[in-house]
Amino acid sequence: MNWLDALAEASVRSMAQRTSRRSLLASLGALLIGGAALPLLPVARGAEPPRKGAAPNGGAKDKAAAKAAALQDPQSCDYWRHCAIDGYLCGCCGGSQHSCPPGTEMSAVTWIGTCHNPADGLDYVVSYNDCCGKSTCGRCLCNRNERDTPIYIPFQSNDYNWCSGSSKGNVAYHCSTARILGQAR
């Protein structure tokens, strides 16, 4: 399983919501530095200094407060667990960050990321299980491509519909969760 080898030391797709990607990247750069001591973890790949050309932090207190709130809001693309999500947020669809909306089924196989929780300063392994069996939810699309791989490296690719792996062979994609699997070491 070449992609599992890759996975063990792999990069993780990280935060870059299309609609506010540039502003988000600046804050991320800083966040992820907190994970720099964990060289084998995906999150370590995020430990880059803020890049040239990234939008300068406007410095407005309101902005910073809103950003901080969003980091703890499961219905926000900026929620800390969503650092490698791609799809509609189940928290906006009748589920939550770790549960599926009524009547859908959680995919058995999916892709994972490692995210930093600013509230406790810890990094967590997060599993982005899709919820399956109904049409797309259509709410809170959160689409990021940081460290996303092409589909020939499946478990790091956000271009798959992971409902494909559902036990019922039913591929209808509804939304994506962000479950904590455990603390990252």
Binding site: M1, L4, L7, A8, L41, C92, C93, G94, G95, S96, Q97, H98, S99, C100, P101, P102, G103, T104, E105, M106, A108, V109, I112, T114, N117, D120, G121, L122, Y124, V125, S127, N129, C131, K134, S135, C137, G138, R139, C140, F155, G165, A172, R179, I180, L181, G182, Q183, A184, R185
Partner: protein, 387 residues
């Protein structure tokens, strides 16, 4: 490589990444696998179901459930091609959904069914096949509706022959079809009676037996004037009265007498004053009326325009006392309103949608205060039903 071996490897990789490390702060616990939400029953009075006709992709209609108090999206049902509405059981525990499917999406063999959903799990628990002739039209409340005792589901057919399919929700069987030539839709008038609206303005009164079969039909003389100022088919019911509104804003009522078959006309009255009519104020929209039984209030979406604007949205909802036939309130709308619904409880909410946007507006029906706007409610939201 199959999933069994792959999944084992996968689990191993995850275990390697998540070995429990002692830290100063107690870390957040792991989330359970395969957790799926379910809803409390009975449904809360401030929940509302919004029908998404999905006009650009009609094969994938939806019904979407929103909590008006929080604005939270609670879940959805996929309701197939040309979805008109879902129907809630009397106790709120089940949902009946007339649905149309094709073996190849938009072509191939057509199958019409009533899917029965568990209202807590929003998952199908049964299916009743019905004749594949369910009417495909802009969603109307009278497309599919339960008899007053909640037992028989009446579904309007048009192909273009007109009939009503009767489904026994207790036995979960299709009972049969009742021809209603020249007459459309179903407006229940009792446990075993309904009427359809005929093209000449007459009512076709139909009685069912206890098995749901049609046992008698009677066609009245023209009840409504249909040529110059017809009533819309978008009626609302309060107790023993069905309220219809004409293009010019006159309210006509059908009063249900003994046994649901003795139908008489109530007094008619206008939503507008002479001067308002001169200013071309009139009702409009797709679900243009709402009613609150407890408050004895009627709500109408109002705008200014000619008779050809009878489906146009409005920016005001006017509220009437049904006893005094007097306007008691005007509620300004934050956005264009094409359909309204008022919850049944004592502190009612007023919901508003419009097919050309995809938001749900929520108001305090008593004060008229705008409480919230819920975004991203489907593609082309049409009509609403509540518990």
């Amino acid at each position: 490589m199959g999933c069994p071996s792959l999944c084992t490897l996968w689990a191993g990789a995850i275990a390697a990444l998540t070995a429990a490390a002692a830290t100063v702060a107690a870390p957040l616990p792991a989330d359970p696998l395969s957790q799926v939400e379910s809803l409390p029953l009975p449904p809360a009075p401030h929940w509302v179901w919004v029908n998404d006709f999905a006009f650009s992709h009609m094969a994938n209609g939806k019904a979407m459930l929103v909590d008006g108090d929080s604005g939270r999206f609670l879940g959805e049902l996929d309701t197939g091609f040309g979805a008109v509405r879902i129907v809630l059981s009397a106790d709120g525990a089940l949902i009946y959904s007339p649905e149309t499917y094709f073996s190849r999406g938009t072509r191939g063999t057509r199958t019409d069914v009533v899917t029965i959903y568990d209202a807590a799990r929003l998952a199908p628990v049964g299916e009743i096949e019905i004749p594949p002739k369910r009417s495909s039209n802009m969603p109307m409340i009278a497309n599919a509706i339960l008899t007053d005792d909640g037992r028989f589901l009446l579904i309007y057919n048009f192909n273009p022959a007109q009939s009503i399919s009767v489904v026994d929700t207790r036995a979960r069987t299709f009972v049969g079809e009742i021809d209603t030539p020249g007459c459309a839709l179903a407006f229940p008038t009792g446990a075993r009676a309904f009427f359809s609206l005929c093209a000449d303005g007459a009512l076709l009164k139909v009685r069912l037996d206890d098995s749901g079969r049609g046992v008698s039909q009677e066609r009245t003389a023209p009840f409504f004037e249909v040529q110059t100022n017809p009533v819309t088919e978008k009626a609302v019911r309060r107790g023993d009265s069905w309220y219809f509104v004409s293009y010019d804003g006159t309210i006509y009522s059908v009063i249900i007498g003994r046994d649901g078959a003795d139908l008489t006309a109530g007094p008619h009255w206008s939503l507008t004053s002479d001067s308002e009519r001169a200013q071309q104020w009139r009702p409009g929209g797709l679900q243009q009326l709402a009613v609150h039984a407890g408050l004895n209030r009627l709500y109408a979406i109002m705008h200014r325009g000619g008779p050809e604007t009878h489906k146009d949205p409005g920016r005001e909802v006017w509220v009437y006392d049904l006893e005094r036939h007097a306007r008691v309130q005007k509620i300004p709308m934050q956005h264009d309103s094409g359909s309204i619904l008022v919850s049944r409880d004592a502190k009612p909410l007023l919901f508003s949608i419009f097919i050309e946007s995809n938001i749900l507006d929520v108001y305090d029906a008593a004060s008229g205060r705008h409480l919230r706007t819920v975004p991203d409610i489907g593609t082309t939201p049409t009509i609403m039903v509540g518990p």
